[in-house]
Symmetry: D3
Subunit: 264 residues, 6 copies
């Protein structure tokens, strides 16, 4: 079975630099895959991506050795299994608030007796190799999102679930849940404290801690802190920011005559 | 009929800042349309875009007041007319080398008696208004690409074609045609000379000169020179460059353990 | 944040005339959006529409000021949140039979602390504006479908759920549930009684009552009764009926020689 | 080989009532196919349809016995042959102005020695039967559009081309070419004269005359005159008109508070 | 309502030969539909197929009299109802382990009072006929998958659910659940015993037993045993195997110089 | 630039075993790419494939080291260049009958000064490497189809065109052109003679001869004769044949009760 190089990086003590795909498109996925991310996550939750578009995106990532992951839309076994069968080498599952939810999630990613995933790795076996059914349970990565105060409270139970590889902090939802504005600094006391508590729990349990950031500064700081899986920016954000800097220069000199951008 | 604000900018003495779409996707088109470009060109030639994808992209641009243009794949009337019927408010046509080719191109964009465009503006009339057939000939913009030595030689005949609004220089192909490497400086003598000759011809004839660039520096310099329509960067290029700068920072600190990007 | 004009109409005492989209297509969505409906509902339940097609339909509606809504396939948070992130300005949720189901539905549409919607309004923030996260809870419309005898029985509990804007009666399913043929007259005693009971409950609670109809007569009668949100006809029905009237005329004179329409 | 019932109708002295598909969608194509049109034309010229969407539309028509036709985007052999290989049982070709153009068109639809169509009826042979290559030349219908003054002048040469089954008048373009407004009455003298001249030429040559109309009145009048193939209305037009009549009723009583339909 | 010929075959004492679609494509679906399978199952679970692709596949099958079925991704009512509304004439539901799960599944497929399916058979009524709502409950086929040891234990309760037409054994998952390697012989004692127990339960209850196989030998043997619905091979498997036999011959003589097939 | 291993095989004296893709789908393309063909040709002529589907198919092939080729729909530069920009590493062009046509074809595939291909290898440079523009002219393979009597007559002129890598015989069209039934034996004297004449001309000129076959027997015989590029079977044909053999076995025992396959 094709190696899951994310696990290799972890085993070697490194941290995974993950890219994020929210554009529903196989060409942008292929372009991103050629840039050097260790892994790319097809975001089927907040990305504008349903299953029928996720599939060619997973194919496009496979034109390189970048590891394809997917974020499921919700903790629902139907779509999680479909994404795995399509060749995702790991699942990030949103809104895991309790140990029971973590068990349901992990179970959907593991064949019996470790879980209740149904066998039929149609594309996965082509991507990964003929021994997929034998080795998938130890190859596929499972990351539970910690993004509410409740989840932070329950984090020890969550990370104790056998077969869970790690957690992934969603700072936006976690901020809202803690009564903060989303998008604020990681240094805000209530947020920082929650992040630290989660990180400590993963270290006690020996699982991986990951986190979503929106700047290289935050990402590097989090790696330094001990996070082993960081996301810096989504494709939509990268494109938007890049276009804005070009236009900022052009408009300085050359203010647009017509305000083209106002939506209704 | 909805105003073609490109023409308004020109009538007011301004220059159009045009964005470039090569990603075959309606979401990236919508994102780009919200950034403030005066116009956006759906590139059906070198962009990875056929008609069936160009259509939703033109719809996505119409969620804003940004003017939608299209580059045709070639000087072939079938596709040019389809793009106009789909609501493109102007056509950039590649590889116009002679006056006769310019006449064929312009004719495809104009209803009789100015041209031979067939009547059936299915989406165009919804986008632009019920009087489309009456006003399209004076609203739709036509830009002929000058991108070979032959075209430079024939530029006076090309710009003299009635109904042609302007030309658009393609520096890559023009460089190759002049025996230079594509992607080189606009200041290379042979290229600079050709650009100047084309610009002068447009000014003699009173039509617009446009040019494809790949930096804000070049774009601003060209506007200063007298170009009235400049493209700075494509969506694919913006995304690629933005991803590369993020990864450059991340890797400095944190060299990827596995070279994920090597294609076969 | 872009105004939700449905709410404005309600605040001004008016009734919303809603169009219905069951054709999985962005062009028909755009055409419908240009006709003057106050809102258009992308029907992801009985319409032939999955997420990957709903997205460009929502984009197409955004070429006008018509308010885009979506009917979810079922009371499942994954898809409801995806439709909201894609820019739907309200959700109609089928088969809400109890207060608990209404709470689950409304919670999926509201960020904490009002609900448990996950933050990541990828397209919604482009469509609606940068302050989306701050104002979405008070802007997004939630309508629970009342379409069983059980729901009618539980209607007071349902309409009492905080954050629920109103209910939407589905007369076909309600008829079946009441032991009547679907498609029958709204004046049938058992159906009329249920409709009246639901309407009364909404008026007691001060929430909006909406209803699906299939004729302008019924729609106008329901508005007169006090319904504030009415649907008259779906795109598929409009197309079918229009084609049938043309063919009825043509065949009167000119009976088709070959019965082309018999399915297998 | 499956019978081309259009030809059967003609052989029995009848007239074909043709429906028109401009919506790029297989569901609307299937709905239209179930209404009873003798044939349906997938309009790849002014319809919003490229090849990749035309294919599932042709499949959808094949769920009934309605005969699938296609209008080519232009007199270009590549696309004409692709539409035939996809199962179109006839081609309507726009803007045939000379006998030479008619010969090029017909040649693209006929295998050697009658023409130069390339052999490879991938879907056509599944749709029509294993003897497709042997019988396609006598089964496939070819209709050349007469829609300019020049074409009217050359009509005798055009209809004389062996293998051409008939002509199809495009009144909009013909009106423009004659210096009239498109969409006007068929009774305008210059237009009426041209229509009569074309009809007479077909009758002298023994080929079929067809015409595009936009009302049952015109369609019936044209059949009476001797036209054997009439189109009444496109799907987009049917949907638009039907939506408008519903809204006209609703707004009479209930003027929309917000003008939702204004495009930018 | 269009006859469900699967039921007719069963009533006549025959066995249904079912084909299996995992390729997300309407052309391969149409090709398969023309080969003579009694029914074809669009596999929305392990097939690479989401709803937006399942729809045109169901349309493609309807170009023939082959009966279209679908396997749902999971026992979730939203997607099951969507597949039925799209025209599936039966649902195979994975992982039914208890009577309660069987009741939930069957309920999603039946209108009240037999179940809780919501009314809105948009395409189903076009495919099947105007009396769809009246007759769907007795026409649509429901098959519950038995594929765990738990399900075998609970089989009598499962098959006793009113409205369930039969069961469908999934030997891969059942093998894993029994501690065997998937893909092994049906003759392995533990597997054979389970198969026999399930078959016996269906015969006691008078419902149909179906099974997934991967060879004609197994399929014929199972029919002989009493199975009334057998699947032999999926489209992906058929294509793969056929390509491999061609290449085996070619390479014998002509070993490929470059190993083109190694994935990363 | 990524090596074109087709050329390497030729340089090593080997013959290329080419697979053929007519199914408009990226999954079947990926499956085929994993079987071991030296190259795969996306057939945009008789395959049911337009540009917007060809693109993800080329991506899917790139998940392996199999070389992606495309057959153009016709000798039209617009589409040929689009297929090359999308990453096709060679073009097979149908119906090349004269030296002038071969020059037009080859010119469309070569940058100046060897040809008139326009520069903009959007995906090609990602697939092949940053030096694409410098090396494409010597890497891309051009094969002109010889498939008429006229082409056989003109073959020496055709193969003499600089930049043409070889020819590809289309036996079906060639048979029709020679007055034979398509699909007949390669040993028919008139056909055999034409094949030999073409092969001899390529050998005189030192270019490659290729041929389309439909059996491994023919393919091997042609390799033995000196052909260096052979196609054995298309994906559609492989799937059809494989399904038919399964059904032949099943029906022997178990004749289907209902003839499901009859098209209308």
């Amino acid at each position: 079975m094709r190696e899951n190089t994310i696990k290799t990086i972890w085993q070697n003590g490194g941290s995974v630099v993950n890219g994020w795909l929210s554009i529903p498109n196989a060409w942008t996925a292929e372009v991103m895959a050629h840039q050097g991310w260790d892994s790319l996550t097809v975001d089927v939750q907040h990305g504008l991506i349903g299953y029928d578009v996720a599939l060619p995106m997973l194919q496009a990532i496979s034109t390189t050795a970048t590891i394809p992951l997917a974020r499921a839309p919700w903790n629902e076994p139907g779509m999680i299994m479909k994404l795995l069968d399509a060749g995702a080498y790991g699942i990030i599952c949103p809104m895991i608030n309790t140990q029971a939810e973590a068990e349901a999630f992990v179970g959907a990613c593991r064949y019996a007796p470790q879980g209740y995933r149904s066998a039929g790795p149609t594309r996965a076996a082509v991507y990964a190799g003929a021994d997929y059914l034998q080795r998938a349970n130890s190859t596929i990565v499972t990351l539970a999102m910690i993004e509410t105060a409740e989840a932070v409270k329950n984090v020890d139970g969550i990370v104790s679930v056998p077969g869970l590889d790690g957690i992934y902090i969603g700072p936006s939802d976690l901020s809202i849940s803690l009564g903060l504005q989303p998008g604020g600094s990681f240094a805000q006391p209530r947020l920082a404290e929650a992040i630290d508590a989660v990180l400590a729990a993963t270290q006690r349990q020996g699982v991986v801690a990951g986190i979503h950031t929106s700047s290289t500064d935050d990402a590097l700081r989090m790696i330094e802190k001990g996070f082993r899986f960081v996301t810096v920016a989504s494709d939509t954000r990268l494109l938007t920011t890049a276009a804005q800097s070009v236009l900022a220069v052009m408009k300085q000199v050359q203010a647009p005559k017509i305000s083209a951008t106002t939506p209704y």
